[in-house]
């Protein structure tokens, strides 16, 4: 948990990236403050993927509930059959919308499942980067507050 540990991980990541030189399309992206601290989804995408023009596509499969059981833990799943380089999830109404970016090296399935926080009812967008272009699927997730459970 010390600084040396950090360096070690950084080293491992660099080594891994080097090993993947044979696969030039994998740009190994670590956390980027420029992308994740943006207030607008388009700016976040621009900084994460170098592009912000998106095309809705029914090939992008986004699974998220219509009504969240609890806004603190909302299961979200993104999947596609396209050749994907990266996958991202945007939660429009959160203070900074970009929730996660995932790198999909060759041989890895274009699939990500995680659990997100949503402060209020919001549009959720799955973004798939394929062939340098961004494809999306969106849906609204209702977040209710108040009640016996919430």
């Amino acid at each position: 948990m010390d600084r040396r540990g950090v360096l070690k991980v950084a080293g491992a990541v660099t080594a891994a990236a080097t090993a993947l030189v044979a696969l030039p399309r994998v740009a190994f992206a670590a956390y980027s403050e420029k992308a994740f601290k943006q207030k607008a989804g388009a700016d976040a995408l621009q900084n994460a993927f170098g592009a912000n023009a998106t095309t809705p596509s029914d090939q992008v499969k986004l699974k998220a509930p219509d009504i969240a059981e609890n806004g603190a833990v909302v299961p979200v799943e993104v999947q596609t059959d396209m050749e994907a380089e990266s996958i991202a999830i945007l939660i429009k109404e959160n203070p900074s919308p970009l929730a996660i970016t995932a790198e999909i090296p060759a041989g890895t399935k274009a699939l990500v499942k995680t659990r997100c926080r949503m402060g209020k009812t919001t549009q959720v967008t799955a973004v798939v980067k394929s062939g340098g272009k961004l494809y999306t699927a969106s849906k609204e997730v209702k977040v209710t507050i108040g009640g016996c459970g919430g």
């Binding site: 509930p65 219509d66 009504i67 969240a68 059981e69 609890n70 603190a72 833990v73 909302v74 299961p75 799943e77 499942k113 659990r115 209710t144 507050i145 108040g146 009640g147 016996c148 459970g149 919430g150």
Partner: protein, 279 residues
Amino acid sequence: MKKIIRNVAFGVIGLSVAAASVAGPEEDRQAFRKFYENRFPQVQPFGDFQNGVYSILPAAREQWEAIEEFPPYELSIERGEQIYNKTFANGKSLKDCFGEDGAVREKYPHWDKSRGMVVTMELAINECLEANGEKPLKYKKGAIADVSSYMSYNSRGQILNVEIPSDDPRALAAYEMGKEQFYTKRGQLNFACADCHMHTAGMMYRADTTSPALGHATSWPVFRSKWQEMGTLHRRFAGCHTNIRANPYKAQGEEYRNLEYFVSYMSNGLEFNGPAARK
């Protein structure tokens, strides 16, 4: 505040049921079960009632199943295992009380004739600790929920078979006290457990759907998303009472132990499937 008081209706609702009866526990249980079977015919098989509100809400169930892919209570089970196997200062451990793996969930709650009281699993855990010179645990969350998680996990699949021994009238009295608790309106909001979780089970209260009481006792302890941690059944009882603006009873006090005795008896025949994840 006066307005609130005036708005509290003392009218008797839910009178689709007949007047007072003196039926025994077994008749009670059959009527209880029949009530839920009639109200929620879509719950098939019957045993699915053990999954609480998810037995009647398909959309919520999908999210719950996604949570169950890697449930947050697994960390609690691990912590519980460590506590369970930890050697006491006197060289013994919880194993000396509950066996190698603690798979004893089906034995609780039970009527202890010698002491004339209902004994729950959490109470038994603390009594084991104290008997061995260890400090008892707090009853609502933390280590007690972890140990209970571990023991419940190892007991999954055991069938609820709570007995009310007929040779001890005090056992029946404890059951009756729990039953009265369940059906009695309390708090400023004037709700009985039975109002939300029986007569209007499955309906919305503000943003939430209430769960059927059948199966309420099967799946504890629970990792609640609202809590973001584990809690015991008595913690939930207290939370419900606070919600309806009634002062809660003490966890593991006589009132809640007897209430657990009653609701567990009502769920006889279902499986123990704790620990679980809930909203």
